[in-house]
Amino acid sequence: MRSDESRAKLGVGSSALLTAALAVASLGASGLAMASDPVVFSFATVGDSRQDPASFDPTTALAVGAAGGTDQASAPGYPSLTGTLLPQDAQWLTSTKPFARILRTIQTEKPNLLVFNGDMIYGYGRPELPPQLASITTLPTLMKTDAVFEYLQYAFWRGIVAPLFETGTYVVPVPGNHETQCNSSKSTNNPNNCASGKAAYPENEQAFLANMGDLIEDIQVNERFQTVTGAAPVPINGFTSATAPATGGNNGPLNANETELSYSFDITPAGTTTPELLHFVIINTDPSGADATAPSDWLAADLAAAKQRAAAAGAIPKYFVFGHKPAFTYDYNLVNSKGSNQPVSPGGLDANTGVDPAASVSTDGVTIPTGGSYRNAFWGVIAHYNATYFSGHEHIVNVQAIADPTKSSTNTPYQVIVGAGGSPFDDTLAPGNAEPVPFTNPWDRFYGWALVQVHQSGAVTLSVQGFNDGATFNPNTGAISSLGASGPLQLLYSIPSLQ
């Protein structure tokens, strides 16, 4: 067991390695324990299945040409680093092959929920009725306008996940920055009606709700949630404007209605030895008016109320929070002595500097100093409740126990990044298409997802499974010697006691 002091001193890289080592050491024993401790409720979570029309990962490119070849390296349809993007993926901008394999395996595991942590579409446009509509005179141009183009991407994604409902898994959507933001630098925007740079817009949030809202509202109306999962959801916050995050303070300067963009619900699983209250919270980390923030004041009140409900029911609470952007950016770059490889720039909630949230956040009778940081306010709340935070955004898998930077709590809750649902890997291939060896973590170029299982005893376990890009390479130089369709399915992380 690490001391609190040593936890605080752990850097991102060393923390990841230690977590992996702990997982290795504990896996055997925990596996034995689990065999006699049945699973009573489980959920899978992953994010980022969107493809990139310009910067796709070369390992997802396919060879084209005449049929008849037998060598995988050159046969049509097989992976080729110099190939092209599958037309299907280029049109609907989903990385279908790895995402479909992930979903297929999740279906065999039959979790009750799949929480998808955002970036289900490439998006990045401004899905509104364009002022230039009168000048759009051809059907192809109309079909490429932001609203139509994004709605098509949403529909394609909804079709891909539809079979999960038939095998007992309900899909819970989380908004990501590719859904809520418009990016002026993207050539796919038509017409380009967003301001310079990247920013979230109310139209984007409403487009998300127009295409995902039925899944969220069913938590209230329960038309199919319970029949799919076997568990009755209890909607708590975020389903009306009165209970959605309000602007100001540690929620950030929101400028639109956040109803059903940040929301929460309870599930009380049957069959536990002692009553358990599972509290699920979805947060929008790129709301209109407050990009790269978490609604920490709203979250603090929501978790405090969940704790009180559990106490009133004589239940043990478990807190699971899902957002698109990580609180702490995982640095997958190894900085070499020549300085040619630089640390990864913060891209999560830690990217939001130069703003001034409230000086503190209050919850459960404690006051947590934010130090002027949205990230600190958020993680201080997460740590107080020892919640687990699941995110995407970084196209990578990484599991870390992270100390509370506000030092208000000695808890070291887990941040679980599972943004490797098919989108181009953040740890990109080196020039010449070599793997970026040595990896900071051997799983840095693995597609992967998390499976969380709540057991009869109340124990909560986490496993992250995945497969690599199919490359066989020299571990010293990274030179790729062959490229298969995909790699074998492997266990990447195993945490025997998540909370």
Binding site: G31, T472, G484, S486, L489, L491, L492
Partner: protein, 215 residues
């Protein structure tokens, strides 16, 4: 007279002994060095290892090193153990097993099936596969730890099938623990030679007794 009967018995027993050949590993990758960081085996992901087998050899046991990892499979959950011919096996979506049976998971370690009696009609390379094929198999997901060490008969190659429809591929495949035991075919010519020697010896002894009696 008693000596002749005893001698005849020894000769017959000697002739029969080669037919009771003992079983030996024809594939033994050794035990995985850890239970952790394993490959995940489910209905969409299969694994196989290549080995060679002489014509007439009979496979009597297939064991794979399996853990339940985090997937809480129960004792007696079943999976499939299959043997494929090495001819045109890789990247063949239509490869058909020449033999298949069910194994059962009991506890972390070597799990599989004993008491098998499949005989290879032709010698050559074969693949031993570990698969979960619902609905016949009750296991949902098992784990195959990697890497291995200390084996006595190394695998010629490893392959996995990710369920994408292209069959097994050896590109990027990782080693896992698997053992195949077989009995060698009966070496017929030496048996006959030994039997013939015994018969000749017996005949020679009878003739000498006859000669002595005549004198």
């Amino acid at each position: 007279m008693k000596n002749k009967v005893l001698m005849a018995g020894i000769v017959i027993a000697a002739a029969a002994l080669p037919g009771m050949a003992s079983a030996a590993f024809v594939l033994d990758t050794g035990t995985p060095t850890s239970n952790a960081m394993a490959m995940s085996l489910d209905s969409g992901d299969f694994y196989a290892a290549e080995f060679s087998l002489a014509a007439g050899s009979t496979v009597t046991s297939i064991q794979a090193y399996i853990t339940n990892a985090f997937f809480a499979d129960s004792p007696n959950d079943t999976f499939t153990l299959a043997i494929y011919s090495g001819n045109n096996f890789l990247n063949n979506r239509n490869a058909a097993a020449v033999f298949a049976t069910q194994g059962s998971y009991q506890s972390d370690g070597w799990n599989g099936a004993n008491g098998l009696s499949w005989t290879a009609s032709t010698g050559g390379n074969y693949w031993a596969a570990v698969e979960i094929n619902p609905p016949a198999d009750s296991a949902v997901q098992l784990a195959l730890p990697s890497p291995t060490s200390g084996g006595t008969v190394a695998a010629k190659d490893f392959a996995f099938n990710d369920g994408s429809g292209n069959g097994y591929s050896d590109a990027g495949a990782l080693p896992f623990g698997i053992q195949v035991t077989a009995t060698a075919p009966v070496p017929l010519p030496p048996t006959l030679w030994l039997f013939a020697c015994g018969a000749l010896g017996l005949g020679f002894g009878v003739r000498r007794k006859g000669d002595s009696a005549a004198a």
